[in-house]
């Protein structure tokens, strides 16, 4: 048996080779653009040594673990609260951006185009930039943090959910329609269950992203793991930094696990 025969003999489109070349060239150009920059900071060596040495002795004193637990709980709470706002924005948004409940063609087109543009704009701005903008208007309080996550995530969920609701098999929907179901009933008995499998996983993935976003709300001065990390770094308490990072990693892994459980049990 010759191995040559086993390689899939797919024709390689010219576009793909050109693209690969383009990407490599772009990367090399970006390297060239920063080639002259001095990279290692002054006093970098000793800081790296301290940072790595402390990895072997993370702070696991009971007092500090309590602080870590509190910060972890706060970060998780910001993430969940932000996601609840995101769903409040995203679910109605999905109905508007997909137009599945609107019978009249012209009204549907207006809704789809208008909300598509609106959500694209809301989504383009990073959640921490949202946090900065909301800070100016709402002041430094938890609501600013929650909305900073809720608004851009809601816009993303609206679009993903909206596209999924449209991208379901035609036949069950037609059958429901011929049994006399209205658009709302077709949504409930057809589109939603047909799209549910992929969406449950997606929403948990968004929750995982929200955890990371919530962890850095210290960006605008709100509490949580990010603030603790920032404080520990400022005090050069590297052994605390590692404990806090471990808590963040565990939190993300936990969300991943719960997601897997829930999907296996309820949607699959």
């Amino acid at each position: 048996m010759s191995t040559r025969l086993l390689v899939p003999a797919r024709p390689r489109p010219g576009g793909r080779s050109a693209l690969s070349l383009l990407l490599v060239v772009a990367f090399l150009l970006s390297v060239a653009a920063v080639a002259g920059d001095q990279v290692v900071g002054s006093g970098g060596g000793s800081a790296v040594r301290d940072l790595l040495a402390s990895l072997l002795r993370p702070d696991i004193s009971p007092d500090f673990l309590l602080v870590v637990a509190e910060a972890t709980l706060l970060t998780a709470s910001y993430a969940v609260a932000g996601m609840s706002v995101a769903l409040l924005v995203g679910v109605p948004g999905a109905l508007l951006v997909s137009g599945v409940l609107i019978r009249r063609r012209a009204a549907r087109l207006v809704s789809v185009l208008g909300f598509r543009g609106l959500f694209a704009t809301l989504r383009a701005v990073h959640e921490l930039v949202w946090a900065l903008l909301l800070l100016t208007i709402l002041g430094l309080n938890p609501l600013a943090g929650i909305l900073a996550i809720g608004i851009p995530y809601g816009a993303t969920i609206a679009r993903v959910l909206g596209d999924r609701l449209l991208d379901v098999p035609r036949e069950p929907l037609d059958a429901l329609g011929s049994a006399g179901a209205s658009p709302v009933q077709v949504l409930l008995y057809g589109r939603l269950p047909l799209a549910a499998g992929s969406l449950a996983g997606y929403l948990f993935y968004r929750l995982e992203c929200a955890v990371r976003a919530a962890a850095v709300l210290s960006f605008i001065g709100l509490g949580g793991l990010g603030l603790r990390i920032e404080v520990a770094l400022a005090d050069l308490r590297f052994e605390q930094v590692w404990t806090l990072l471990a808590a963040l990693v565990l939190l993300v892994v936990a969300v991943d696990r719960v997601s897997g459980r829930v999907r296996a049990r309820y949607v699959a």
Partner: protein, 256 residues
Amino acid sequence: MRSPEAPSTEHAVVLCAATVAYGTRTAVGPLTLTIPRGQRVALVGPSGAGKTSLLRLLAGQLAPSAGQVSVGGRDLARLRGRRELPALVGLLPQQLDLVPQLSVKHNVQAGALGRWGVLRSLGALVLPVEHPPARAAVERMGLGDRFEDRVADLSGGEQQRVALARLLVQDPALVLADEPVASLDPARAEQLLDLLGAAAREDGRTLVTSLHDPALALRSVDRVVGLRDGQVVFDLPPHRVTPAMLAGLYRLSEAG
């Protein structure tokens, strides 16, 4: 048995020079046909004979390009998109028409959506309540113990029976079925046709079904209509349909 040509005071379906045309090509007709209430009719003929177009015409999914179709004495053209239509005409769903992620219960209850408001349909979906007609229909199909199971976990034959149960819950006077047994093995096909025939006979429904396999058609209906190129070639009770007629129906169309 009543002869199909005999006039009846109670016609469930009346087609009057009805025509279906796609562009310049005529798929059905002009066709004039009456079907008395409670009669079970099989449409046979090779693929492309116009069976599906005729069924879609009767289901109100296609408007006739010429002529008139009335069901239960009402002009279908005036009923399109109206909520009375599902009580009058029901199309037997196929396997693909079910929502695999939902339970048997919810798929069958969907037959009642035409009569339910939004709140009731939402409640029936999320609350642990049962719609008695749905339970009865599923029991009748012999699937009582699968009531809460997901449709995706059922076999093809079982799914086809779930589809029939949904139609029973929809409770239309005229039942239409397009190749209801195309994806089933012979034993399950006979079982389903018997169930379909029984459902029509016991509840006094009119049944029009297309069947690719004429042997099955002859078994369970009162009347067989042979179609070719959108025209009626023969229209007889099953015992008067001869093998030669069937052979001719299929051979002729292959030549043309």
